[in-house]
C-alpha cells in the first residue's frame, strides 16, 4: 500500500509527479491512498483514506519503475486534470490515476477519448463543474475600495465551492494588471501589487473594508436595467444561483424587485397615453408611404430639378416585395444632359451595399470598355432597369436572381422618367432585361444586338449584351462576347456623334 501526500488540495504538480512514478511502476489504483497534507482540506484527506489505511501512511516512498515505459499522457488530459484536481470531490485524485492506469496497463489504450466511459464521463462532469465555478468566480468577485489607502487598493471576499482561487487569479492579473488588489477566500488568499502575485492564508468574512459608495450606484443600475414586464426568476437563478448572493451587493434588491414586478408591469399595460406630450411637438412625416408601400409624392419643389425629385421618390419605393430585403434603391448616376444613357439589368450585391450602379464586377468590365473607347464618363449616365437587388440566400451569401416580369414592369416608369429627365441622344441597352424594360416586349439579345432603332421621340436605341455575360463565359467565348459589347458601345457612340454633329 502506498500513500501519496499532496501539499495542497489543488496540487496538480504533486499529483502529476506521483502519478507518473506509480504508472511507470504499474502500481494498481487500489494500492494508492491519496491525501492532502494541509489541514484546510482535512475533509478530503479523511474521506480518501479509510481508517484502516491510516496506519499504512508511512509507505510514502515511491516504487521503483518497471522495465516497460508507460505511454506519454496527452496534453488534453492534463488540461482536464488541472481542472478536476480543483474539485472538492475527495475521490478526484484516485479517479484521475485510475483512467491513466487503465490506459497504460489495462488494455484500454483509447479510454481517454471515450466520453461515454463511466470514469471519463465522471471526470468530464467534475471538470465542467470546476470550469463553471472558475467562470462564476470571474463573474461574481466584487471588489471594494479600501478606505483612505494611497495608492488605491481593492479587496474582495469570495467563498468558492471548489479550490478555484489559483485557477481564477490569472484572469484578474490580466484584467487588473495596474491595480493593487486582494482576493480572500476562507482557505487561501491572493494578492497583486501590479508586479507580483503572492498567495497567503485564508481570511474571514467581514474582515475587509466596509460598503463601497459605488455599491449604491451599482444597485441603482441593477434596479433600473430590469424590465418588470419580463419577469423570469428561474432564468436568473439558474445562471446566478442563490449560493452566490451572500457576497453580491445587488442581491438584497432582488426579492423586492420580484415582488413589485407584477404591479409595475400592469401599471404600464393599463396606463393610457397622455393626450398631450409635455416635452415637444411632434414633427411632420417626411418619408410617408401609402398602404402599398409606394411613396407619397412630396409636393414641395426642392431645387434638385426633376431628376432629384424623381430619385427622392424612388428611394422610398417599396412597391416590389423584394425591395423589403434590399439595402437601398440604386438610382442612376451621371449628369442631366449626358448624351448617352446606359441601362443595365438590376442592382447587384455590390451595388446594393454601395448604392451606386455598375459598382460591381460587371461594372468594372463596362467601365474598362468605355475607357478603351475614349468615352468620357461625364457624357454617360449609368442606370438599371430594376432598382432593387433581387436575390436568394444560400448559406451566408446572397445570390443574384433574375428579376421577374412584374418587377421590370413596376420599375419601368422610373426608368422612363429618368431617361426623360436626363434627355440623352442615345440609349444603350445591356441585356434582355434592359431590352424588355424599354421596349415592353421580350427581346432576343443574340439576334437583336448591334441594331439601332429610333423611339417616337427621336432617341436612338442600341441593343447589346450584358457585361456579366462576358464574366460568365470562358476563353474564346468570353473574348468574342467582349468584342460584341465593344462594337455595340462604339456603335452607340457613333450615333451620339452623328446626333450632335451639325447636319
Amino acid at each position: 500500500m502506498f500513500t501519496v501526500s499532496l501539499s495542497r488540495p489543488d496540487d496538480i504538480d504533486g499529483w502529476r509527479d506521483a502519478a507518473r512514478a506509480h504508472l511507470a511502476a504499474a502500481t494498481a489504483p487500489e494500492n494508492i491512498v491519496w491525501q492532502v497534507a494541509s489541514a484546510s482540506d482535512a475533509g478530503a484527506a479523511v474521506a480518501a483514506a479509510p481508517s484502516a489505511d491510516l496506519f499504512a501512511a508511512d509507505h510514502t516512498v515511491l516504487p521503483p519503475p518497471v522495465a516497460t515505459q508507460a505511454p506519454p499522457v496527452p496534453r488534453s488530459f492534463l488540461d482536464l486534470a488541472e481542472r478536476v484536481i480543483c474539485h472538492s470531490d475527495p475521490t478526484r485524485f484516485a479517479l484521475l490515476y485510475r483512467v491513466l492506469f487503465r490506459r497504460a496497463w489495462g488494455g484500454e489504450p483509447d479510454v481517454l477519448r471515450q466520453a461515454a466511459d463511466t470514469d471519463m464521463h465522471t471526470l468530464h462532469l467534475l471538470g465542467k463543474c470546476v470550469a463553471r465555478e472558475r467562470h462564476k468566480m470571474h463573474a461574481f468577485v466584487r471588489f471594494r475600495q479600501s478606505d483612505g489607502v494611497d495608492p488605491e487598493h481593492f479587496y474582495a471576499w469570495f467563498e468558492p465551492e471548489h479550490h478555484t482561487l489559483r485557477l481564477s487569479v490569472p484572469f484578474f492579473v490580466r484584467r487588473f494588471a495596474n491595480m493593487r488588489w486582494s482576493i480572500v477566500t476562507p482557505a487561501e488568499s491572493a494578492h497583486w501589487d501590479t508586479r507580483q502575485l503572492v498567495f497567503g492564508p485564508g481570511g474571514r468574512k467581514g474582515a475587509g473594508p466596509g460598503e463601497d459608495a459605488m455599491e449604491d450606484l451599482w444597485r441603482v443600475y441593477f434596479a433600473n436595467i430590469f424590465n418588470p414586464a419580463r419577469l423570469m426568476v428561474d432564468a436568473m437563478t439558474s445562471e446566478m444561483p442563490v449560493k452566490y448572493w451572500k457576497n453580491l451587493p445587488e442581491a438584497p434588491l432582488i426579492q423586492q424587485l420580484v415582488l413589485d414586478a407584477g404591479a409595475r408591469a400592469s401599471a404600464m399595460v393599463d396606463a393610457e397615453a397622455l393626450a398631450e406630450p409635455r416635452f415637444a411637438a411632434v414633427a411632420e412625416h417626411p418619408h410617408a408611404v401609402d398602404a402599398r408601400g409606394i411613396p407619397v409624392v412630396q409636393k414641395a419643389a426642392d431645387g434638385m430639378g426633376s431628376l432629384g425629385a424623381l430619385h427622392a421618390q424612388t428611394r422610398a419605393c417599396l412597391a416590389c416585395p423584394h425591395a423589403h430585403k434590399a439595402t437601398q434603391t440604386v438610382n442612376g448616376e451621371g449628369r442631366v444632359g449626358a448624351s448617352l444613357v446606359i441601362v443595365g439589368e438590376q442592382a447587384g450585391d455590390v451595388e446594393d451595399l454601395s448604392g451606386r450602379p455598375f459598382a460591381g464586377p460587371a461594372g468594372e468590365v463596362l467601365r474598362g470598355l468605355l475607357k478603351d473607347a475614349d468615352i468620357d464618363t461625364q457624357d454617360v449616365f449609368l442606370t438599371n432597369a430594376v432598382r432593387h437587388f433581387h436575390y436568394e440566400v444560400r448559406g451566408k451569401r446572397r445570390l443574384h436572381k433574375l428579376p421577374d416580369k412584374d418587377m421590370v414592369d413596376r420599375c419601368r416608369q422610373h426608368l422612363f422618367q429618368e431617361i426623360k429627365a436626363v434627355g440623352p441622344q442615345v440609349v444603350l441597352l445591356l441585356g434582355a432585361t434592359a431590352g424588355r424594360a424599354l421596349r415592353g416586349r421580350a427581346v432576343r439579345v443574340t439576334e437583336e444586338r448591334g441594331v439601332v432603332s429610333t423611339t417616337s421621340s427621336g432617341v436612338k436605341v442600341v441593343q447589346s449584351i450584358h457585361p456579366a455575360a462576358v464574366l460568365r463565359a470562358d476563353g474564346e467565348k468570353a473574348a468574342s462576347l467582349k468584342r460584341d459589347l465593344q462594337s455595340d458601345i462604339a456603335l452607340a457612340w457613333r450615333c451620339v456623334n452623328a446626333a450632335v454633329a451639325p447636319s
Partner: protein, 427 residues
C-alpha cells in the same frame, strides 16, 4: 417609476457618498436603455492590461457579471448618453412625445462611472446608445467621444459596444469602429411599412444603408492593404441588430426572412429578438399587452437552427402553421414531428447533417457521437452520457440496443413533449 431610485429595501443602508443627482441620472438613463436586449461581450480580440497603463481585458468569451430578475445577463453598463430625442418612434420609451423624465450624462461623468464599475468587477465594459439630439452627426460625435476618452485618455481595454446613429457620416462610422468592439444599429421592425408608420422620421432605408456601410468597413479591415500592411482596427466582433417582435402584424416567417437577409447581406453576428414590451407612457396605437416572451424564445431557437443546424426559413416555419412557429414545442421538434418519415436515425451510421436534425441533439453532442462511435457501437446509455439526456431523442433514434418501435408513429408523441407552463416562484 424612476422616483424609486432604489427599490425600497430594508437591506440597503442609505449612504451619502454618491450625489443624488448622479443616482437620478443613472436611474433614468439605465431605465431608458433596458429595452435593448443585447448585453453580449463576446467575440472581441483577446487583449489585457499587462503592457498598458489602465484597466481591462477581453478574453474572447464574455462574462455575465449579474442577472436581473428578468433572467437577462448584465454584462455591460448599458445606458443612454441622453434620453432627450427629437424623433417620435411610437414603440420607443424615449420618443419626443413621451412624458418620461429626461437626463443627460456629461462625458467625463460617464467615463468615470464606467471605470469605477469596471475596477470593482461589476461589468465587462460599456454599451452606449443615445437619443438623437440636434442631428445624427452631433449625436454620433458625442458617443464616439466617450469611447475615445476611455481608450485614449484612460487606456481602457474592456469591451465597448456603440450604437450607431442612422445617417451619421461615414467618417464618424469609421471613428466609432476604431474604438468599439462591436457596432450595432437596430432594424426595429422587419416590415418596412410598419417602420414607416411607427417611426416616421426614420428614413426607412437609412438603417440598412448604415449596416451596409459597416459591412464594407469590416471587409476592408480584414483585407490587407496592397502593401501587405494590416488595416486599422475596426469593430472586431462585428455588428448586431435588434428586431421588435409583436408590435405589428408581421408573422414569424417575415421576421426570420428578414433575419436571413440581414445575416447574408451584412454579415451580422447576431439578430436579437425583443418581444414588444409595454413601456411607461405608451402610445395608444400599440398593443398594450404583456410581452410575448414565448414567441421571442421560439424565434431565437429558429434563428439558431438556421445558423448552426442547416435549416432554411421554409423548413423551420413548416413545423408550425400559417407562417407562425409552433408555440408549444421547439421548432426542431416541430419539424421532426411533421417529417416522421425521415426518422428514426441510426446514431452509429448517420452523417453529421442528419444527426443535427435529431431533436435533442446539439452541435456538441453530435461532435461527441462522431468521435465516440469510431471506437464502439453506441448504446442508448452511452448516448445519455454523451448528450446529457435521451428523454427527448429516444423516439427518433436507433442505437445498438434500442429501436423506437411504434413510439415514433404514436399520435400522442407530440403531447408528451408539450410542457406544462409552470414558472416556480422563488419567494
Amino acid at each position: 417609476m424612476n422616483s424609486n431610485l432604489l427599490m425600497q429595501s430594508s437591506a440597503v443602508p442609505a449612504v451619502q457618498a454618491v450625489p443624488v443627482k448622479m443616482m437620478r441620472k443613472l436611474s433614468i438613463l439605465a431605465d431608458a436603455a433596458k429595452y435593448d436586449a443585447s448585453c453580449a461581450s463576446s467575440g472581441a480580440a483577446r487583449r489585457d492590461s499587462l503592457d498598458g497603463t489602465g484597466v481591462g481585458s477581453t478574453e474572447g468569451m464574455g462574462i455575465c457579471h449579474s442577472y436581473a430578475p428578468d433572467g437577462r445577463c448584465i454584462s455591460l453598463l448599458k445606458v443612454l448618453l441622453t434620453n432627450f430625442c427629437t424623433f417620435d418612434c411610437l414603440y420607443c420609451v424615449n420618443r419626443v412625445s413621451s412624458n418620461v423624465p429626461r437626463a443627460r450624462f456629461e462625458i467625463d461623468e460617464l467615463v468615470n462611472l464606467v471605470l469605477a464599475f469596471y475596477k470593482r468587477n461589476y461589468i465587462e465594459g460599456l454599451f452606449l446608445s443615445s437619443g438623437i439630439i440636434r442631428d445624427p452627426d452631433y449625436t454620433m460625435e458625442q458617443i464616439i467621444e466617450v469611447a475615445r476618452r476611455l481608450r485614449e485618455v484612460h487606456d481602457f481595454r474592456g469591451y465597448i459596444h456603440l450604437k450607431t446613429i442612422p445617417e451619421a457620416s461615414p467618417e464618424l462610422l469609421q471613428a466609432a469602429g476604431r474604438y468599439a468592439d462591436r457596432l450595432s444599429i437596430n432594424i426595429e421592425l422587419a416590415r418596412r411599412s410598419s417602420l414607416a408608420a411607427l417611426a416616421p422620421q426614420k428614413e426607412v432605408g437609412g438603417i440598412r444603408r448604415s449596416m451596409a456601410a459597416i459591412k464594407e468597413r469590416l471587409d476592408e479591415s480584414r483585407d490587407r492593404s496592397h502593401r501587405g500592411r494590416k488595416m486599422p482596427h475596426f469593430s472586431a466582433s462585428g455588428q448586431s441588430t435588434q428586431m421588435i417582435v409583436g408590435a405589428d402584424k408581421a408573422d414569424d416567417r417575415e421576421l426570420l426572412d428578414c433575419s436571413q437577409s440581414l445575416y447574408a447581406g451584412y454579415q451580422l453576428k447576431r439578430v436579437y429578438y425583443s418581444a414588444f414590451s409595454p413601456i411607461p407612457d405608451a402610445s395608444a396605437s400599440l398593443p398594450p399587452s404583456p410581452p410575448n416572451l414565448n414567441r421571442e424564445h421560439r424565434l431565437y431557437q429558429a434563428d439558431w437552427l438556421m445558423r448552426f443546424y442547416g435549416f432554411d426559413v421554409g423548413e423551420v416555419v413548416a413545423g408550425g402553421k400559417d407562417g407562425m412557429l409552433d408555440p408549444a414545442i421547439d421548432p426542431k421538434l416541430a419539424w421532426a414531428l411533421k417529417h416522421r418519415e425521415q426518422f428514426p436515425v441510426d446514431i452509429n451510421r448517420a452523417p453529421r447533417e442528419v444527426l443535427l436534425r435529431v431533436p435533442g441533439l446539439g452541435v456538441t453532442g453530435v461532435e461527441r457521437i462522431l468521435v465516440n462511435r469510431r471506437s464502439q457501437r453506441l448504446r442508448l446509455q452511452d448516448l445519455g452520457r454523451l448528450c446529457g439526456s435521451v428523454k427527448r431523442l429516444k423516439a427518433f433514434v436507433v442505437t445498438r440496443d434500442w429501436t423506437p418501435g411504434n413510439l415514433l408513429d404514436a399520435e400522442s408523441l407530440r403531447r408528451g413533449f408539450v410542457q406544462k407552463d409552470a414558472q416556480l416562484s422563488l419567494f
